[in-house]
Structure formats: structure tokens, C-alpha cells
Amino acid sequence: MKALAFHSEKCIGCKLCHLACSAQNEGEFNPRLARLKITSIHNRDGLMVKGQTCDLCLACVEACPEDAIIEKNGRLSFLPELCTDCGICVDICPPQVIVKKSIGVGVCVQCQSCSNWCPTAALTFEEVNK
Amino acid sequence: MKITLQLKGPLKKYADGTELIKFDFDENNQTVSELLQRFKIPTSSVSFVQVNGLKKELNHPIKGGDKVTVNPRVAGG
């Protein structure tokens, strides 16, 4: 299966990935609604670059008690009509990239908007060992 | 005769990512402009060219042993 991979040494911290994701999946420019988290800040130890992306570990699929998150042909989808807003998936997601919304959640659907926008190939869509 | 060509910044891509190239340059009376054509570097991508460190026009003739530096355009400041 193919999934997102993050290469921190190439990341410039421009957040275009966050904007591309939220525009594609939420219909607005809102970095906090992106289904990935890229951080690039200067803290006391110097520049800190960190990336959290969905690697298709499927923990959410296994954990959802209502089968509202499913995987098909290497892509996740969310079925809002089955969701009870229990929040288990948000808490369990290892990279912490499932977005809690006012109703339901946002999961990475492998749309590749973020990697298509990434100007430095810090985000790629590549084969993962599953 | 041998000349050295230096491609600065993004212009390296016209020599497969190499900044400094030394090569034999047989033709006589070749100009800077012809050298740019040989590497398919559009003049619209060039701000100015230095020959042996000095700013020169595109019709400047190149001699053996010259170092030609090609600078990209810059904006802002």
C-alpha cells in the first residue's frame, strides 16, 4: 500500500500542505483542519521540524466501534451516517492526525493534495510496509 | 582551449546540477551568447555574465583559460 511519508530535512515549514488539505477536504483555508500536522518552529534548542502524517496503520479502522472508518484499496473513507462522535479514533490515532469536527471527524483519505503541493518533496506518497 | 563555466543558483540545472564545469572549447571567436546557447540557457533567465570576475556584455568574445560566471535573475533585494 502507498501512504504519505514525511522527510523532515527537506521541509521548509511553509504550511502549503495544511492549506491544500483543508481546501480539498473541508472547503476552506484552515490549517487547523488539515489531516496532517507539520511543525517548524524555533524553540530554545534551535529549529525543530516535526511531521505527523497518516501512514495507513489502520488503528482507527480497527478501533471504530461503528465501522464508520473503512479502508478500501488502500484508501480510508469516513461514513458520517454511522459515526456517533465517540472520539475513540481521534484519541487512538498514533500520529494524531484525525481532526475532531463539530460533527464527525476528518481522516486522511490519501487524496495527495498535500504532497502535490509540497514544493520540496518533503511530503511524498510512497510504498509503506504493511 | 579550456574554459571554466560557473552556473550560479538555479542555472545549475542546465548542466545537470553541476555548478562548475571545465571543458574544451575549440571554436574561435565564440561569444558569451554562443556559450549560453550551447548549454540551452535562455538569456531571459540570466541577469548578467562575468568573465574572469568582471561584468561583460553578451557579445564579449571568450578566450582560452577564461572563467565565465552566469548569474540568475534576482528580485526584491
Partner: protein
């Protein structure tokens, strides 16, 4: 929509904050950023207001493209009346503050009055609070940002250091440690209001029609027009690339503009920066990542930019990269503008060497040089004199002919004797000597326009000033060489009404004229648009510019032609017809 239609107004005297709709009519004529902040200041400031009084206002202004996927849209305009020059002052700062402010729901913040004790402003969406800055006052901008981040979480902060607190006319505002609203003493305006910092967290979004179609169009533009040969110098090198260009064309300011070339330039050029590069870094929504995060010895910085390498390097006779990096870091932390600070130290060095006044520092003295930022920002020892800046130092101690400033603002890193239009750009800039209003060095010294003639330079500078006025209002970063046609195309897609390149050129002209009108109202005219005597009277002696000056009669010729083409009178005042034509 692309505008949030909301302005946050804060009165620090009363502690009250209110919101109001953005003035739509003004936004139509002035876009945002530079233009719109100047419009608000022109309408709201009384003529003659003391820039360091409670009556000055500080405006943070975004633009319609801020917070979207439009490439290079990460900049914020910060404007006030300048304490350094008495002119209008708009600065632009990169990083992630502008977008965060918009996600909090605001196009702009207008800050009025003066707090009775040090405060910082905290904005989280609708929540707006003034909080005590008692524990932050006296600290550098870096420690201030770290403390606020630790207390507030993932906020973006604008902060001042000691220079702003001490009301230096070279005090800047820092954000994300190494980004600055640099010039004209904008940090002193914050300091005069007892405002130490502004932290913002915005959790909202920006909605526009056909957002997916818009995004696809922007991605295509990013690939085909932003990440191209014309702009990728920013990623491959960033501004340090200009050191070699300036050296080879004889316009690298050296030893207080005594020369245009520096023998040790290789110690401070792009290759030297790249040898200590750790990472490339970008502002919000920028694919070009001009910034170089470097580490060397015990010091680190995001930079040094060309201006710092030139003014704090060659211009101080310092051919030592580690020293320049450390000087840069100290300036950023204390919030000193490196252009003005470098010039000031260089002026003190020349004054000392010439025996006019002993400031105890000479060209190339690295150890003493490294003590300067702290001494200047805290007004200690010799720093108390250097804190005056070049103009006031010359008034007090002499050296007027080589005081490298215009209207009280120190000159950036392009020697006008090797780029005559650059001289005109400095003289006619709306905030004193500035290279960002127009940067003709790119096509003169670094291009194929003859740098040593006055012919055609007025038209060249006017075109650049008007285009840049649009750019800094929308608000795009300077480093994308975007055409006016492309700006019109993007604004049309974003705002859903037809923009044309011709209309934008008029908008740019209107903005530049409004800035000029502000200055006219403050008493500025032709007499203020001249260069330091050194530029007219002293010939450079080395490199490409050896034997060159910019004779005063040639400068007069350019200036007169400039006024005429602008539709201003011989004294530099906007004519009634021009005001009418631009709806001023």
C-alpha cells in the same frame, strides 16, 4: 470571503477593544497591506503628531490574499508614523503572523493610545486581552517569544526587544526570532505604547467560492510562474547570492561607503553562508524558502541576509562570517534593524579613524564590534551615542558629508554611485533610504541598463515604485518577480471581480501618491529628497565603479524628471490635477 470584513481596534489607554467592519470603499482603492494601512493613518492621524506619543497609531494589516494558497502571500504590513524620519512608515514582515491573524478573524488591528504599564496583547479568535508584561519587560525578543510560547501554546508572536523599550529610532519588531519589521523605528512605536508583544492564535478559516478550482489554478501558477529560473535563486541561495553580484559590479558598500568592493568578500558571500547552512526555511504559503538557518561555532541565526552581510559585514570592514552571524543574532534579539545598526557602527568607525570624534572603534575590530548591539540597544557607554543613529550623530559630532542616511533613515546595501537609479529610488522613497520601494539595481548594476546615466531612470523608478505598492498591499513578498498581469489574474479569481493590469498600475500609483501626500502634510518637499554629499563628490576607486560618482547635476536632472512624470511640481508637491485623477 477573502476579506474577513473585520478590524480590531484596541485603545491601550482605556484598555478597551472594539471591532468594526473593514472600510470597503478604501479596500477597493487601496487593497490592503501597505496601501490600506497608510489610508487609515492618513485619515486618522493629526498632522504633526509626535511618533512616540500616545497619539501615534500602530496598524497591523493583512491583504486579500493572506491566509490562502496564493504563493508568497505570507507577509504582514505594520505601519505608523516613523520615529526615525517623521514620514509615513510601512514595514513588511514575513513568517506566520499575518495568516494567523486572519484565521483569528481579522483583516487588521489598529492600536491606539498608551498603556500605563507594560502589557502584551493576546488574541485568540474573539478573545482579546491585554495582559501584564511586567516579567517580560527588559528581556530580549527571543526570550520573550520563548516565554509566551511556553505560556500560551502554539501562538505566533510579534515582540520588541530592549531597543524598542528604549525608544531607539532603529528599533525593529521581531517574529519567530529571526523575522523583522525592520526599518524606521517601528519597534520604538510599540515601545512608546508600553506594548511588549502581540500573540495571536486563530482557529477559523477562510472560505471562497470554487475553492478547489482556485487551488488547482494556484498550484499551476506556483509550478509554472513561481518555482522558475527567475525566482529559485531564493531557494538555492537566498539574498546572500547578491554579495558576489554587488562585489563584481562595484556596489558592495564597504567601510561606510568609502568603497564599492571588499577584498574579503569571499568570507561573507553565499558560498560562505552555504558552508554553515543547516536548513532552508519559508514564510507561510511560500514555496521559495529564501531563509537560511545557519549554525557556526556557538552561534546560530536564520540569516544573515544580504543587507546584514553588506552593512554589518563589508561596510564595517568585517570579513568574518561567524562574527556577522553573532552580530545578526544579537541585533534580532535586541531588535535592532541591521541596516541601520550596521551603518551606525560603520559611521562611528570612520569618525574615529578620521579623528573627528573618538567612538573607540575602528573598521574590522571584531571584538569591539560584537559588543555594539547590546550597548546600543541598552544605551550604555558609547552605545548611548550610537543609539542616536547616523543622522543625529552627525548633527552632534560632525561628519555630515559621509553620514549615509536620507531623511534620517540609513542607506541599504547598494552603492548609488554604481546604480544611479538606486540613488533616485532612495531619494524618492516614501520612508527615507529604502531599497524595497524600488530596486533598480537588479536591472542596472545586475542587468543591461547603463548604471551610469540619468537617462530614463525616472520612468524606471516610478514603474517599480507603483508595481511594488500593489505587491506590498495585496500583500505579496518581494521575492516573487510577479507581473502586474499575474497579480490581476489572481485577484480576479480570488475576489470574483475583474481586475486588470492597467487598473492595478493606477492603484499602485494612488498608493504611492497617498504615502507622498502624508509626507507632504508633514512638511516634506524637494529639499528632503537629496543624497549624502559623499555620493555626489567622492569618486569610488576600486573595481567596476572605479572613478565613478553620481554628480549632483545628474541627480537633479533625474529628480526633476521624476517629479514631472509623477505629475508633481518642481518642489515635489502633488499637483491638484494629479490628486483629482487619483481620487486623493
Amino acid at each position: 470571503m477573502a476579506y474577513m470584513d473585520k478590524v480590531l481596534r484596541i485603545n491601550l489607554t482605556t484598555g478597551k477593544s472594539t471591532t468594526e467592519p473593514l472600510n470597503k470603499e478604501w479596500a477597493r482603492e487601496y487593497l490592503g497591506g501597505k496601501g490600506l494601512s497608510i489610508k487609515y493613518l492618513y485619515e486618522e492621524l493629526k498632522p504633526g503628531v509626535d511618533p512616540l506619543s500616545a497619539n501615534n497609531k500602530l496598524i497591523l494589516m493583512t491583504g486579500p490574499i493572506t491566509g490562502t494558497l496564493v504563493p508568497n502571500s505570507g507577509k504582514l504590513a505594520i505601519a505608523a508614523k516613523s520615529p526615525a524620519t517623521g514620514t509615513i512608515l510601512d514595514c513588511s514582515i514575513g513568517g506566520h503572523f499575518a495568516s494567523e491573524l486572519k484565521f483569528a478573524g481579522y483583516d487588521a488591528v489598529i492600536i491606539e493610545g498608551k498603556a500605563d504599564k507594560p502589557v502584551y496583547l493576546y488574541i485568540e479568535d474573539d478573545k482579546v486581552e491585554l495582559r501584564s508584561a511586567a516579567t517580560l519587560w527588559g528581556k530580549g525578543a527571543h526570550e520573550t517569544e520563548h516565554l509566551l510560547y511556553e505560556e500560551l501554546g502554539d501562538v505566533i508572536t510579534l515582540a520588541i526587544g530592549q531597543a524598542g523599550e528604549n525608544l531607539l529610532t532603529m528599533a525593529c519588531i521581531s517574529s519567530e526570532l529571526y523575522r523583522q519589521a525592520g526599518r524606521g523605528g517601528i519597534g520604538a512605536v510599540m515601545g512608546s505604547k508600553n506594548l511588549k508583544a502581540i500573540s495571536v492564535r486563530g482557529t477559523g478559516g477562510i472560505k471562497i467560492p470554487d475553492i478547489r478550482k482556485f487551488s488547482a489554478a494556484m498550484n499551476k501558477i506556483k509550478r509554472e510562474d513561481t518555482m522558475t529560473d527567475d525566482n529559485m535563486w531564493a531557494y538555492s541561495d537566498g539574498t546572500p547570492m547578491i554579495v558576489d553580484l554587488s562585489q563584481s559590479t562595484g556596489i558592495l558598500p564597504t567601510r561606510n561607503f568609502q568603497e564599492g568592493t571588499f577584498d574579503e568578500y569571499r568570507a561573507i558571500n553565499s558560498d560562505a553562508v552555504k558552508s554553515v547552512l543547516k536548513a532552508k526555511k519559508a514564510c507561510f504559503a511560500c514555496p521559495l524558502a529564501c531563509s537560511n538557518y545557519v549554525k557556526m561555532g556557538k552561534t546560530e541565526v536564520e540569516g544573515p541576509e544580504y543587507e546584514t552581510l553588506a552593512l554589518c559585514g563589508s561596510n564595517c570592514g568585517i570579513g568574518d562570517m561567524e562574527a556577522v552571524i553573532e552580530f545578526n543574532r544579537l541585533c534580532d534579539d535586541h531588535c535592532l534593524d541591521t541596516i541601520s545598526a550596521g551603518n551606525t557602527v560603520a559611521f562611528a568607525m570612520e569618525m574615529t579613524e578620521k579623528g573627528i570624534h573618538d567612538f573607540g572603534i575602528r573598521f574590522g575590530e571584531v571584538e569591539k564590534y560584537l559588543t555594539m548591539p547590546t550597548l546600543i540597544a541598552t544605551r550604555q557607554g558609547v552605545g548611548a551615542d550610537l543609539a542616536l543613529g547616523v543622522k543625529k550623530m552627525a548633527e552632534k559630532f560632525g561628519g555630515r558629508d559621509f553620514a549615509m542616511e536620507i531623511k534620517g533613515l540609513e542607506i541599504p546595501g547598494y552603492e548609488p554611485r554604481g546604480s544611479w537609479a538606486m540613488g533616485l529610488a532612495y531619494g524618492t522613497s516614501d520612508r527615507g533610504a529604502c531599497h524595497m520601494r524600488a530596486w533598480p539595481a537588479a536591472v542596472e548594476a545586475f542587468g543591461d541598463i547603463d548604471p551610469f546615466t540619468s537617462e530614463g531612470k525616472a520612468e524606471l523608478v516610478i514603474g517599480m515604485q507603483d508595481d511594488n505598492s500593489v505587491k506590498f498591499s495585496a500583500i505579496w513578498c518581494d521575492f516573487w518577480a510577479i507581473s502586474t498581469e499575474r497579480m490581476a489574474e489572481i485577484l480576479t479569481l480570488l475576489l470574483g471581480r475583474e481586475f486588470t493590469a492597467a487598473e492595478l498600475k493606477t492603484t499602485g500609483e494612488r498608493i504611492y501618491n497617498l504615502a507622498h501626500l502624508f509626507n507632504e502634510r508633514e512638511g516634506f518637499d524637494r529639499k528632503d529628497d537629496y543624497l549624502p554629499a559623499r555620493i555626489y563628490n567622492e569618486k569610488l576607486t576600486t573595481g567596476f565603479t572605479a572613478g565613478r560618482s553620481l554628480p549632483k547635476e545628474e541627480y537633479e536632472k533625474m529628480l526633476s524628471e521624476y517629479y514631472k512624470l509623477r505629475g508633481w511640481d518642481e518642489n515635489g508637491k502633488i499637483t491638484a490635477e494629479k490628486k483629482k485623477a487619483l481620487n486623493l
